[in-house]
């Protein structure tokens, strides 16, 4: 009873923009579904290039997320827990890939990791390793663009977590690293999971930095968004099909992970 009454009290001033916002987000999706060539769908799905690109996308997004978690969680901890000069600046720098057009991000990556890049030339001369035009390059491009999502989410979770738990752990004999891994990390696990999911989703949709840094070659660097873009050049319906596949797979995975990790309803 009381729930029904509460539900009626949602103010119109909030409900209307909320509804518009939802429609704005959902309508383009509906557009894709309406225009999808359902009859030829099975045939298009069976095309070998499609599954290759999908698999490459899922693999690179997952590896990129692992990379982001490995590097980003400690970075978030540093920003949240350690006082050091220039911390505000570092925090701002971490968010740079968010505001940087991904294509520019790709160029920036080339300038560092490219064949003539600061680190890239050294890698090439010393180990004979080149990153552009390789699957590793795709991972790098995706991680660059997606990592801020993870760092911001985890830093927020760390700031919300009571630092005194780390102090309690210290009085029980845990050094800072042990306190972090044994106490803080489990406490902020939901935040890390949420950040990882965001990060993965961003990596999966990455286009600009990938095509700029890693180029486009089927089976090696051509992820789904690149395949969609090129399909758009010749065949709108193929592009829609590819988009729907990417969309379906990511929605299924995200829904499953959200329930499992974040425990949201």
């Amino acid at each position: 009873m009381s729930r029904g009454v509460r539900r009626q009290r949602v103010p119109v001033a909030l409900l209307v923009p909320a509804g518009l916002g939802l429609a704005f987000l959902v309508l383009p999706l509906a557009g894709l579904l309406l225009r999808a060539p359902w009859t030829t769908l099975p045939r298009r799905l069976a095309e070998p290039g499609v599954l290759t690109a999908l698999r490459l996308s899922l693999e690179t997004a997952t590896v990129a997320t692992l990379l982001c978690v490995t590097l980003g969680v400690p970075l978030a901890w540093l920003l949240a827990r350690v006082e050091f000069p220039g911390r505000r600046l570092v925090r701002a720098l971490v968010t740079v890939p968010l505001v940087l057009p991904p294509v520019v991000g790709g160029v920036a990556l080339l300038l560092v990791f490219g064949r003539r890049g600061l680190i890239g030339s050294w890698l090439d001369e010393t180990f004979g390793v080149t990153l552009p035009f390789t699957t590793a390059g795709v991972v790098l491009a995706e991680a660059f663009v997606a990592m801020p999502f993870l760092v911001i989410a985890v830093e927020g979770a760390l700031r919300g977590a009571d630092p005194r738990y780390e102090e309690a752990a210290a009085t029980l004999g845990a050094g800072r690293f042990t306190a972090f891994t044994r106490v803080t990390l489990p406490l902020v696990a939901p935040g890390v999971a949420a950040g990882a999911v965001l990060c993965w989703a961003r990596a999966l949709g990455e286009f600009g930095a990938t095509i700029t840094f890693a180029g486009n070659y089927p089976g090696r660097t051509q992820t789904m968004p690149l395949a969609v873009y090129l399909a758009l050049e010749t065949d709108l319906q193929a592009a829609i099909v590819l988009s729907l596949i990417l969309l379906t797979v990511s929605v299924v995975i995200l829904a499953a992970l959200r329930d499992k990790w974040i425990g949201s309803t």
Partner: protein, 351 residues
């Protein structure tokens, strides 16, 4: 008696300076008592290694843990110190057992030994059957006991308790206080109890150290402190009226007022007496009481079965009267009365 802890704590926090000397013997329980903001928690944090000293020293069991002038500093994880935090800070993602096993595990015990030790401690605090529960499934009293077990499981040379009973309701508090007393009695190391509750301090501690504004203002066993308070804060805590004046034998001059006391003192002195020793009269009383003065009622509150009357006049005083007497006197704020104290009920001692 061997002093396990020997410390001169000089620390700064938010523009506030703490300067406190503390010595605690093995097996001794000392209560650090003081009003909010006196520096109690800072002292505890310094002892635990969560806050640095700026001067002085901190020596525990013969080892310097913090000594700025010699650039000696031991991080918290390497100090033989156990802490029970005010809101316990039990790790929410670990069971009671794993919370208690956390310390032994970090200090080198293998998983099996740490768990066995934790189970032992949980049994000892009467929570052996709650080992698998998460902190949020425990009651306040149970969480307090798990926190105590967790702090004691590392066998600390110094046990620190920060307002250990403050988070509990009155009934749980009574039981937990009694049990805490038992465990503190069994602890062979030094114990420092930080509290603002005089009852906790009196029941649990062998000795009281009272701090105000970052300084020790009084120190001693419960009997001395309760009988001879030396600051208004302590007097209020133990429920006594306290004046500071100049004594000459049995006479103590407090401002314009001359009080006659049973004790003999010379020079600067304190005079203390309980509110129940103050009698109120509608007019100047005749006969025995020699300490009589005119006063004005400023407030009346319930106090147990009686009423506590706040008075102003040559001295600020509290008086306890029965409800019947209060009705007879018509005690309302602004009312003029005569206050009288028998010399035999006062105590005078050098300041």
């Amino acid at each position: 008696m061997r002093m396990l802890l020997d410390a001169h704590l000089v620390a700064e926090r938010d523009g506030f300076t703490l300067d406190v000397r503390l010595r605690i013997a093995a097996g001794e329980v000392v209560a650090l008592l003081g009003p909010n903001g006196a520096g109690k928690t800072t002292a505890l944090r310094v002892l635990a290694g969560l806050h640095p000293l700026v001067a002085g020293h901190l020596t525990l069991d013969g080892a310097d843990l913090d000594r700025p002038d010699r650039r000696v500093w031991t991080p918290p994880e390497r100090r033989p110190v156990g802490v029970v935090f005010q809101d316990y800070l039990l790790f929410p993602h670990l069971s009671a057992l794993d919370n208690v096993a956390f310390g032994p595990r970090r200090r080198g015990a293998d998983r099996r030994a740490a768990r066995a030790r934790a189970q032992e401690w949980l049994d000892r605090v009467g929570l052996g059957d709650q080992a698998r529960r998460r902190p949020r499934q425990l009651s306040g009293g149970q969480a307090q006991r798990v926190a105590l077990a967790r702090a004691l499981a590392v066998d600390p040379a110094l046990l620190l308790l920060d307002e250990p009973l403050a988070a509990l309701d009155a009934r749980t508090r009574l039981d937990t206080r009694a049990e805490l007393q038992r465990h503190l009695g069994a602890h062979s190391g030094a114990t420092l109890l930080v509290t603002h509750d005089p009852l906790d301090a009196l029941v649990l501690a062998d000795r009281l150290v009272i701090v105000e504004h970052g300084r020790v203002v009084q120190e001693g066993d419960a009997a001395t402190v309760t009988a001879r308070p030396r600051t208004d804060y302590v007097a209020r805590l133990v429920g006594l009226n306290l004046h500071r004046g100049r004594a000459d034998g049995h006479a103590v001059t407090v401002g314009e007022l001359a009080l006659t006391t049973a004790d003999t003192v010379h020079g600067d002195a304190f005079v203390a007496y309980p509110p129940a020793a103050v009698a109120l009269h509608p007019s100047r009383p005749e006969g025995s009481p020699r300490n009589v003065w005119a006063a004005t009622v400023t407030g009346v509150q319930r106090h147990g079965d009686n009423l506590r009357v706040q008075l102003t006049g040559p001295v600020e005083v509290a008086a306890d009267v029965t409800p019947a007497a209060a009705a007879h006197l018509g005690l309302i704020p602004g009312r003029s009365v005569w206050a009288a104290v028998k010399a035999a009920e006062t105590r005078a001692y050098p300041a």
